[in-house]
Subunit: 171 residues, 2 copies
């Protein structure tokens, strides 16, 4: 059986979640089975429709309907906790070729879940499962635990021109 690795997409640039979705598309196209757990996020993203189109593609959101502004609420903590428990089952099951923990770095950044809890989660990974962790501010301990780490760096961004996130492009 092929060994799965641990990948991290971090940094302040675009393309972290997007690259994870691209990897899932590639995996599904190769007949593999994919699970995406989205932390913090709870909005209606176009990606959620992907599960309707793609075979062997599951996606769940463990966040509220909006991003955290100042202090996270009890609801944010509970949603992240639920995600952590679900992802433990998914990661250890051996049923998935690729598992994405989307924005889990942000969940750690807001202390919705601890770095130690995520390190424990990683240890549960079934041998064959490729595990992808995304989000800004990846903690050093997670980088140390990963096999591959890519930083997406913003070189130039049209948000400075006043363009907002557009449906089907950024969200």
């Amino acid at each position: 059986m092929e060994k799965g690795y641990i990948q991290v997409y971090t940094g302040n640039g675009k393309g972290k979640t997007t690259a994870a979705f691209g990897l899932c598309l590639r995996a599904v196209c190769a007949g593999k089975k994919v699970y995406i757990g989205q932390f913090v996020k709870g909005m209606e993203y176009s990606e959620l429709n992907a599960a309707k189109i793609l075979p062997n593609f599951e996606i769940e959101q463990f966040g509220r309907g909006c991003f955290i502004r100042n202090e996270p609420s009890l609801e944010d903590f509970e949603a992240a906790r639920k995600g952590l428990e679900k992802c433990k089952k998914i990661i250890s099951s051996g049923e998935y070729d690729v598992v994405v923990l989307d924005e889990i770095n942000i969940a750690m950044f807001y202390k919705l879940i601890s770095v130690d809890e995520v390190l424990e989660l990683i240890k549960l990974k079934a041998e064959k499962t490729e595990l992808i962790l995304t989000g800004r501010y990846a903690p050093q301990e997670i980088i140390d635990a990963a096999d591959l780490v890519t930083e997406m760096r913003e070189i130039k961004h049209y948000y400075t021109k006043g363009v907002m996130a557009r449906k089907g492009i950024e969200s």
Copy 2:
């Protein structure tokens, strides 16, 4: 009509083509129409299967069956030229919401096509079309012409551990 922008994914890290594919998946899920022209590449990538699964998703390769090792061959030049001509039609047609010129930066790096030719190509872009250029070594002129530029930086890579590209993950 929504205005389309010009994005560049460059750098030595993973996730450039992958992010472009993720963006296309998101676009297709939002009911948009996508075209991917792959320069230099001509191998059988899992992504080619995506066109069989996804609606409004077209992909073509304008490269040979292997990457360029030393000097590009006449065949490499001809394939890139064919790609340039085809992409001119696609980009200017106004029929596509998202057009990806995958590895076009590499095609310029090997001088299969010139930077000026790509700048001309960009100018043909239909107003609504979002244009994505990928590949290492994006020339400064292309960065200047883009609205959004992201550099994928390799922080840590398991290739150093001797892992080769795996089907459905990297290729």
